[in-house]
Amino acid sequence: MEGRPTEDASLVERAKHGDEHAYAELVTRYQALAARTAYVITGSDEEAEDAAQEGFVKAYYALDRFRPGAPFRPWLLRIVANEAINRRKAAGRRPTVGLSVVEDRPSGDTALSPEGAALASERRTLVLDALRKMKEEDRLVIAYRYFFDLSEAEMADALGVARGTVKSRLSRALGRLRALMDEVPRND
């Protein structure tokens, strides 16, 4: 994705010393990913944007404690995700979030047959329903892996866990996703 670690490091270093253009560049570079991460948690465009913005502000003030040489992207995501989770909890969490998909946008590079497209759409609906009911933390793990393609190392940093824990986190989240999918979606 947007990762350009070496440039990031130099931008972070400049931002630390008060170069606002450098920080603006980092914001521009990661705003979409930050907003998307927050959206996966909040399920709301507006809240996601607020959380991402607040995350950038908090990250700026935390730059002093950013370890030189560490990757910026997962560090930022961790701050943004925490912000989004806290906001959602503070607002009194609803049981489900409003994640939605755009059905008419083709994804992937191979055209599907009409049957294939119908099946894919059906599966999306099923899985998406389950995703909406998941705990934020579980949804986030899945999103980091399958939506944003973070590496295991980045996931560990972004989640604040040991690298060896990432796989089990992901596998537990997938297990819970399946359990939710098995609940027949008739009562809501």
Binding site: R36, Q53, P68, E103, A120, Y146, F147, R178
Partner: protein
């Protein structure tokens, strides 16, 4: 959908959802973030002043360290474990809210005691008394305790920060090379002082960057929140930094009251 999806099908579907999610439209946040950082009630001073201050601080420390006495003092200083106090420039006011934000999570003192992994040191001097705001920030295995004193009689309120004094307590060591490589400013002086039996340093002339190694030995840079005079000293295994716009005598009296 009667058959359960295979693992690869589930993964493919998740990727597919990722590709179809109705994400927020890409928004240009840089200017909004910038505005937040510049807003007067936030830490506008930092963006505006940080580059100049950093330069000034670095030059001053370099100059200070070039002097043998100051160098020795700085080296001693470097071996302090790590607390921060911040002086504040003045302007009387009717208890305005802080204009800057402080790192970490805001909580009660009792919560902070339960959270941090060292015993906090607090002032008994009634001029300071109990802090108005307490923040705890955990970075890895290190904890940083920030005590904020918004308004105190006899201590001017910082026009930039909107508070009277800040005390920062951390565990860690000040690294000589880091400090020698980076830190003070022209016009900054460092005097060794005795704070109720403990060695400390009185830094005058608005140092702005503070370099030390955290408990894990990681190089850490901290920005002084209230540009002004600073008293740094040790109390037990805690290093304290007090920033406030007070005289040296006043700072020493306040510092000596930390138990």
């Amino acid at each position: 959908m009667t058959e359960p999806m295979r693992e690869d099908e589930l993964e493919a579907t998740l990727r597919d959802i990722g590709g179809h999610l109705d994400y927020p439209r890409p928004v240009a946040m840089a200017s909004a973030v910038n505005a937040r950082l510049r807003a007067p009630r936030r830490r506008a001073w930092r963006f505006a002043l940080a580059p100049a201050l950093a330069t000034v601080a670095t030059l001053a420390l370099a100059i200070t360290l070039a002097l043998p006495d100051a160098r020795a003092a700085a080296q001693e200083f470097l071996h302090l474990r790590g607390i921060d106090i911040f002086p504040v420039p003045s302007i009387p006011a009717t208890l305005p809210p802080p204009k800057i934000t402080f790192p970490g999570e805001r909580m009660t003192l009792a919560e902070a005691r339960a959270r941090i992994r060292f015993v906090p040191v607090l002032p008994s001097d009634p001029d300071l008394g109990a802090p108005d705001d307490v923040y705890v920030e955990t970075i890895g295995t290190s904890d940083r305790l920030t005590l904020v004193y918004r308004q105190r009689s006899g201590i001017p309120i910082s026009p930039e920060a909107g508070v009277a004094a800040v005390v920062v307590e951390v565990r860690g060591t000040v690294d000589e090379n880091l400090l020698l490589g980076k830190a003070t400013s022209p016009g900054t002086t460092v005097d060794p002082v005795n704070v109720s039996g403990a060695r400390g340093y009185w830094i005058e002339g608005a140092p702005h960057l503070f370099f030390y190694r955290d408990a894990n030995g990681n190089a850490t840079q901290d920005t002084m929140r209230l540009a002004g005079n600073t008293l740094v000293w040790e109390r037990g295994d805690v290093t304290l930094r007090l920033e406030a716009h007070v005289s040296k005598d006043q700072a020493l009296r306040l510092g000596a009251s930390f138990r």
